[in-house]
Symmetry: C2
Subunit: 273 residues, 2 copies
DNA sequence: ATAGTAGTTCCATTATTCGGAACTTGATTT
DNA sequence: AAATCAAGTTCCGAATAATGGAACTACTAT
């Protein structure tokens, strides 16, 4: 259903163009990075909808920049440059740095996994994590993007937006029914956001993954326009809704503490209010 | 010493141009991402050496693409798009996937930290890691780049290159004296690479960081031109050189096993040999 | 008021990109 | 062995987007 479109060879293979030349290049990069394995020229041609000549040039530029690697069988894979750039940007992120000890503390209190996430478009991106046990994949999850409308941090972050912004964003959201508890439309979600605004915290009642629950609280990142949030997540068999309700207060307090500390350490750009 | 250059406003502020338009954009992106904190327009102007008009357009394109974020005080920070792209490229990396259980096994055998790294230009990039204990920063290190000439994996990977390639690469390497054991020039390193080729393993004798040692073995990634390696690392007070020598065999064997399994699972692009 | 600094916009020029079509290269079929 | 097909690469005139010096605006400090 993602690309069963036919006949019309309109420039719609997938990724929406973007800002001129750079936009095209990044769209092609994303097409390769998003795919499962190495992609041959023809695969990318189909996924990106670019004309042959253009695509060929874009790919060779991306390879020259180290953003892609070309294998011996001519197929393309993500290059290492991306990983290095991301590492640098992650390790110098001051907001994450401010939040870290608070996440740690929440983890010690609850014994469950704690996340820090930031809203980007209709998704929330996980930026840090303190795990309950060394779960199989280390470091996994960081950089992962999940839909905002069905995750605790996502809904908490949405509650920070102004109503017009929020509605515009939900209009662009596709409501995929992950579980039987997942919101089916903007209507019910909008009602819940009202509650979240009032309570100062949000729950994920197995909306994204069955058997997984969380409590989250929003954080407005000082100095940016960004909406973020933190959450405590656990498996349903171990963490009851009552337990989550009890944890809501410490989660809210941690969020407030992070916002406060961030306001001081990275807050007012140069001038005051 | 990084930018005390004067008078001549030559296009040399820092990052070397790159491939046309995309190259410039990525160079600017890197300038921001590499910096410590948020960068104001003027800071980037100095670091990138681009003309004002050009830089301004480049930056706004990068912001539109989500690769940079502009704060309220107008300064620029790395955006979240980079993290998401890197996460996708990391989590679908088949070579890492093949190597992972072998790293785990090496960790169980030695009790020390195990790394997987890939050579990129004159640096090795850490792609996976199994830690001895939950060291402060989680997931840290992944995506980090260290000089090849003074790290175990780096030197192991170098030993896979042909002599002309190796020499060309070392010509571009700057030999920074991190510790008293760090190679000071290509000459001594070339001699050591000979040994590494013969032995099949490399040591880091506190060459990058004082009090840190490791044994490493090289892996040629099948299907790519890439040179990689794995290592076991530990603090000098706990891990003697004798201990490292004893671990050399299992490390070499793990490397061989990874190479073999990789050759089957991601090896011959489409045709045979 | 005045000078200075930081960021933004303008626009004629120029260099890049664009993309259809022709051209290799290598495998598969008749 | 010739013919067909598929995949990737190269070409080049036309179109477009990038270029960058200079003028402009908004603040701040003097």
């Amino acid at each position: 259903m993602t690309m069963t479109n036919e006949t019309m060879a309109a420039p719609e293979g997938r990724g929406e163009a973007g800002t001129g030349t750079l936009g095209k290049a990044i769209a092609v990069l994303e097409a390769v990075v998003t795919a499962d394995g190495p992609q041959r020229f023809t695969d990318i041609l189909a996924r990106s909808g670019q004309p042959r000549g253009t695509l060929h040039r874009l790919l060779s530029h991306l390879v020259e920049e180290g953003l892609l690697i070309q294998r011996r069988d001519l197929s393309y894979e993500p290059g290492l440059r991306l990983l290095t750039l991301a590492y640098r940007s992650w390790s110098t992120n001051r907001f994450r740095d401010v939040a870290e000890p608070h996440l740690q503390r929440l983890h010690e209190l609850t014994g469950e996994t704690v996340h820090l996430g930031i809203l980007r478009e209709t998704e929330i991106v996980y930026v840090d994590k303190v795990e309950s046990r060394q779960t199989v994949r280390m470091s996994s999850q960081i950089g992962k993007a999940s839909p905002a409308y069905c995750t605790g941090i996502g809904k908490a972050a949405l509650s920070l937006l102004g109503q017009p912004e929020l509605e515009h964003l939900l209009a662009r959201t596709e409501f995929h029914p992950f579980t039987s508890h997942t919101h089916r439309s903007a209507a019910t979600l909008l009602a819940e956001v009202e509650e979240i605004r009032r309570d100062g915290h949000a729950f994920d009642r197995e909306e994204h993954e069955a058997e997984i629950r969380c409590v989250a609280a929003p954080i407005a990142i000082p100095g940016s326009e960004l909406a973020a949030g933190i959450s405590v997540t656990g498996p349903a068999y171990r963490v009851s809704m009552e337990q989550l309700v009890a944890w809501a207060t410490p989660v809210r307090e941690a969020a407030r503490a992070i916002a406060e500390e961030a306001a001081i350490r990275l807050g007012p750009g140069r001038s005051g209010p």
